[in-house]
């Protein structure tokens, strides 16, 4: 395979060089593209101006010529390279750069400050520090994605503690930590707060295991804290005093989100904190913050860009409601709005004044806003790019969205009532309306009652730009509502026309045919979720053979078995992980796989005790999770997790 790298080299008139990379195609196996898009002309040096630059040459170099070219590259001082690399923000581009040659590798290694680790068991913390000693920002993910839906036992693992310990030991100057689906103890948070003096940003998404005590430690010790973002965490709320632990000297907060906390909040502390953090841009409070407190906060922080309201319950005829309306009118910079867990619908007109600026609106936690009010509200929001709602909006409401929000790029519609298939739900009509009215739509999550092939084909035609397409029928194996056929053709149309599709979740009645389409057309697909679909091993094989860029595959309750699992074992080394639960895979096959592929961890999650007694290779595996790793079997696995 020929690999080319385009390097444009520019020279500044008296000294220094500049160059930029335009394309690095097919370099590594995943064939990533390297682009410096924002910098058509890149220049640097102490007193250099754009006019002083001129192109001295560009080269297209074959990979095997790289060696001779290397001398040329080496001509650049490392600082120059480093500076250039600073413009590469995507992890993938940096990975590509580090593969070019040894010196690039070295430069990239020392200059990488942001590290993303998609699976905390794929690598050890020590190895991370050895490779990237200057890491400042770390993003870690723990449990498999299906943990979100209660398919992974609570104590499966994903502890952050060893990572923090290693970084403390390794003298890392950590500033930012972003965790998703990890177990975070108060101890970890305390260690974090006490060990990294420059710590600035903590983002926890779907994490658990900590309490407000841990947050108090962060609040009191991280003097330069800019961001504390708690998204959908299960936090034990011991007392509401953690907010008062922010020292009076703390004025650096830019973002504060504690919407997921259940308990009471010290309102006075909150108001004082907001008042002194004049750079605060994002504030999302929990439902314990009443409307009048919100009003006072808004009056002090009209600069807010992102607001998450607390309880929006009040008497709309009262004075403080009028005040709120006035304060809201002054908050013209708010572009993102969420919250409304409790809401009095008659108070909603207070936010109409900011609606026309909004680009993001999240009402997916607002079951109290019903269709009519929702529609009225959305009518004011014609700049929306991102909308999250409950299906109480109805097909009619989605029609209004379609005609109002012409800029819409992302839509998520969640079910309002997950137990009763009630009358408040959306169907294919709403989806079609959205696709027809919002040409910029590129991401959707849609929980619906029913779907049809015709609708999906129309959607595919209307919106070929989908990057993420997640469709969930409330009944997992429901066929086309009109023809009663499988939904194969509909999803086939989606992958056919959406060339850039990266994430796909499917549901409804599906046969192997749909996977044939996926394998054939979904060339950019990175994550695929399958549930209750397919009819034989072929289905999974189509996907494994066809989707070359697949990183994560998760399958549940589908009849895929050993043949599919073992057909191309090398494939799993190119992927981050594979999850299979309630499929036809047997223990023996998993063992074979584990034996043949030492770089994979094949884990069986066995919650029932049956398998303890008679370990039979022919026994079907309840839940299997396999992932590539550089460090071998993990040591913190609980008893019910067997690493083969």
């Amino acid at each position: 395979m020929d690999t080319y790298i385009n390097i444009y080299i520019e020279r500044e008139r008296d000294r220094g060089f500049g160059f930029f990379l335009t394309e690095l195609s097919d370099y590594n196996r995943s064939g990533s593209n390297l682009k410096v898009e924002d910098n058509p002309e890149l220049y640097f040096g102490p007193k250099i101006f754009r006019s002083s630059l001129h192109l001295i040459g560009s080269a297209r170099v074959k990979k095997d010529q790289m060696r001779s070219f290397q001398s040329m590259l080496n001509y650049f001082p490392e600082e120059v390279l480093e500076h250039v690399f600073d413009f590469l923000t995507s992890h993938r581009d940096r990975n590509a750069v580090s593969l070019v040659c040894k010196s690039w590798y070295a430069v990239e290694r020392f200059s990488r400050e942001k590290v993303f680790i998609g699976n905390c068991y794929a690598i050890s913390p020590d190895r991370l520090i050895a490779r990237f000693p200057r890491v400042r920002s770390l993003t870690l993910k723990g449990k498999p994605h299906f943990a979100d839906f209660n398919l992974v036992p609570h104590d499966w693992g994903g502890y952050v503690q060893p990572w923090i310990e290693s970084m403390v030991k390794g003298g890392v100057n950590l500033e930012e930590l972003r965790l998703k689906r990890m177990l975070v103890s108060d101890e970890s948070l305390e260690l974090l707060a006490n060990s990294f003096p420059n710590f600035k940003s903590l983002v926890l998404v779907s994490c658990e295991g900590f309490t407000t005590d841990g947050l108090a430690a962060i609040a009191s010790n991280c003097r330069f804290l800019r961001e504390l973002d708690l998204q959908e965490n299960e936090v034990e709320d011991r007392r509401g005093q953690w907010l008062s632990r922010f020292p009076d000297s703390c004025t650096s907060l830019v973002s504060l989100n504690f919407a997921c906390l259940k308990g009471e909040v010290n309102l006075a502390s909150l108001e004082r904190l907001v008042a002194r953090c004049c750079n605060l841009r994002s504030l999302r409070v929990n439902h314990a913050v009443p409307l009048d407190a919100l009003q006072r906060i808004l009056a002090q922080a009209p600069q807010l860009v992102d607001l998450g309201t607390g309880s929006f319950v009040h008497d709309p005829d009262s004075e403080s409601y009028n005040k709120l309306e006035t304060s809201m009118q002054k908050c013209t910079s708010i572009t993102s709005l969420s919250g409304f867990l409790d809401v009095t619908a008659r108070c909603l007109p207070a936010i109409y004044s900011i609606c026309r600026h909004l680009t993001t609106l999240n009402l997916s936690y607002a079951p109290g806003i019903y269709s009519d009010e929702l529609v009225k509200l959305i009518c004011h929001c014609n700049k929306l790019e991102r909308l999250l709602v409950l299906d109480t909006i109805g097909d009619k409401g989605l029609g209004v969205v379609a005609s109002t929000c012409k800029e819409l790029q992302e839509l998520r519609v969640f079910p309002s009532d997950i137990y009763v298939v009630g009358n408040a739900s959306v169907t294919e009509e709403g989806l079609v309306a959205i696709s027809a009215g919002c040409p910029k739509l590129n991401s959707i999550l849609y929980f619906c009652q029913q779907m049809t092939n015709a609708a999906l084909i129309t959607v595919a035609k209307n919106c070929p730009n989908f990057i993420r397409f997640r469709l969930c029928t409330l009944n997992p194996t429901v066929p086309d509502a009109v023809t009663m056929q499988p939904l194969d053709e509909g999803f086939g149309a989606i992958v056919k026309s959406c060339k850039g599709l990266k994430r796909l979740s499917v549901s409804g009645l599906l046969t192997d045919q749909v996977f044939l389409y996926f394998g054939r057309y979904a060339k950019q697909l990175e994550m695929l979720s399958i549930a209750f679909a397919g009819d034989s091993d072929k289905g999974m094989l189509y996907v494994l053979n066809g989707c070359k860029k697949l990183k994560k595959l998760e399958i549940r309750d589908s009849p895929f078995g050993n043949v599919a699992l073992l057909a191309d074992m090398g494939k799993y080394e190119t992927m981050r992980s594979l999850w299979m639960s309630s499929c036809e895979v047997t223990l023996g096959a998993c063992k074979t796989l584990a034996q043949k592929m030492p770089k994979l961890n094949v884990e069986i999650i066995n919650e029932s005790d049956q398998m303890e007694d008679s370990v039979d290779d022919k026994q079907k595996v309840e839940k299997m999770y396999l992932y590539r790793t550089l460090v071998g079997p993990r040591k913190d696995a609980p008893d019910f997790v067997w690493t083969l």
Binding site: E234, T344, G368, V420, C472, N475, P479, A481
Partner: protein, 426 residues
């Protein structure tokens, strides 16, 4: 009744025989064949429980256990007509569930006649079947069966044909067909609404003579939910692998779920949730459920946003809560309540419903067993029980403390009209 005795009788059939029995063309054997499949899905006691559970789903009635199933299967059979050019047609009538009943019932026969399509007619015939109980070899069995159709009727004498179908059964047939044959939609949208409204609670409110467009949609949905139960397993039909697939899924939650969504009311549905489906983050689930709990605490008073009131029903083992704010008309409320409590009323709502169908103004569910109908009543702020529909909706919302679905006879005295209605009934 006949069916149940048949089921228990055949329970003892040994495994080996079960399958071989399906080769013969006797309807009895077929019946046990199906049951044996049930046994495959669930074992022992559980099987029966599930079976009964299934029976008490909204689409079924006690007298003709076959009816409900027949409805489901016939709907799916109609799909077969479309998708598999009739391979499944012959299965229809082995139970002898009076094809005339379905033919007589105007809604369905109209459709078929309009369509001039024999297949349709067959599709509306009734048969007993279980989710996912189709495999190629069975198809052939069924074709053998067709000749014996007439005999079967005598073997399983069920309800009188005309009265044999409760309105809901019809509804689901109709809506099922509607989805299946879109070209005939116009043909029966009318019937549909009429059929639908019959299932409604008795209201004093005017203008309840025909379903609102919205309620029709709901009916459609309800019908669909019923269909799904079968179709999700059934319509990929002829592939041999399907059987395996189904058998692996069915014992797990997957199957329950289908029951659940069918029985789109109530606790069984909630219990029967598939773990992790629909895929909603548990945090979201918890948060949203706590919110409604919070609102529950202000029971009966106009709480923030939501207004939950308890709904009880005579004879129903548990209460439900509804949020009145989610509805904006009496019609909406009625159809929602109807869905919630269908499993308790429908079994009682049977043959007498059919002749009544023409009386569009009469929205009632009738209790077949003791000849009573149900009326929806509410307790107002002052603790007085009133008939729902007597006051404007807004006033109702403000004053309603709780709801009760009473037997019509018990409601006599609440309001003159209630009395009138129950007299009419008698």
């Amino acid at each position: 009744m006949g069916l149940f005795s048949c089921l228990t009788k055949n329970k003892q059939i040994p495994n080996s025989e079960r399958y071989s029995s399906s080769k013969s063309s006797s309807p009895i054997n077929l019946c046990c064949f199906y049951y044996s499949h049930f046994q495959d899905y669930f074992s022992g006691q559980q099987a029966i429980l599930h079976f009964i559970d299934l029976m008490s789903t909204p689409l079924l009635d006690v007298d003709g256990v076959g009816h409900g199933n027949a409805t489901l299967m016939s709907s799916s059979a109609s799909v077969d007509c479309v998708s598999q050019s009739g391979s499944g047609l012959k299965e229809c009538n082995f139970l002898g569930l009076s094809d005339c009943s379905s033919v007589d019932s105007s809604a369905v026969s109209n459709v078929s006649v309009e369509n001039k399509n024999n297949l349709n007619l067959k599709a509306t015939e009734l048969r007993l079947g279980l989710p996912g109980s189709r495999s190629p070899e069975r198809d052939s069995d069924f074709s053998l069966l067709t000749s014996g159709k007439l005999d079967e009727k005598q073997l399983f004498p069920l309800l009188p044909s005309k009265d044999g179908i409760c309105s809901l059964t019809q509804k689901s047939i109709v809506s099922g067909n509607k989805r299946g044959f879109s070209d005939t939609v116009d043909g029966f949208s009318e019937i549909k609404s009429s059929v639908f409204t019959e299932g409604k609670w008795m209201f004093n409110a005017t203008g309840s003579d025909s379903g609102t467009p919205q309620s029709v949609v709901e009916a459609k949905l309800a019908g669909n939910a019923g269909l799904n139960v079968i179709l999700s397993n059934n319509s990929s039909g002829a592939q041999p692998s399907m059987k395996k697939e189904v058998s692996t899924r069915a014992p797990k939650e997957g199957h329950n779920k289908m029951n659940g969504s069918n029985n789109n009311s109530s606790a069984p549905a909630a219990k029967a949730q598939v773990v992790g489906w629909p895929p909603i983050r548990s945090f979201r689930k918890n948060t949203l459920s706590t919110t409604s709990k919070n609102n529950d605490e202000v029971d009966g008073k106009p709480g923030p946003g939501a207004l939950f009131v308890k709904v009880s029903m005579d004879g129903a083992p548990y209460l439900r809560k509804v949020d009145l704010r989610t509805y904006s008309t009496y019609q909406e409320l009625s159809s929602a309540l109807e869905k919630m409590f269908m499993c308790f009323t429908i079994r009682k709502c049977g043959s007498q419903e059919a002749p009544d169908r023409e009386m569009l103004g009469e929205n009632k569910l009738k209790d077949l067993l003791n000849g009573a109908d149900y009326v929806l009543t509410f307790e107002d702020k002052d603790g007085d029980w009133m008939l729902v529909g007597d006051v404007p909706w807004e006033m109702f919302i403000e004053s309603c403390k709780r709801l009760k679905i009473m037997k019509g006879s018990d409601a006599i005295g609440l309001a003159p009209r209630a009395m009138e209605k129950s007299k009419n009934q008698k």
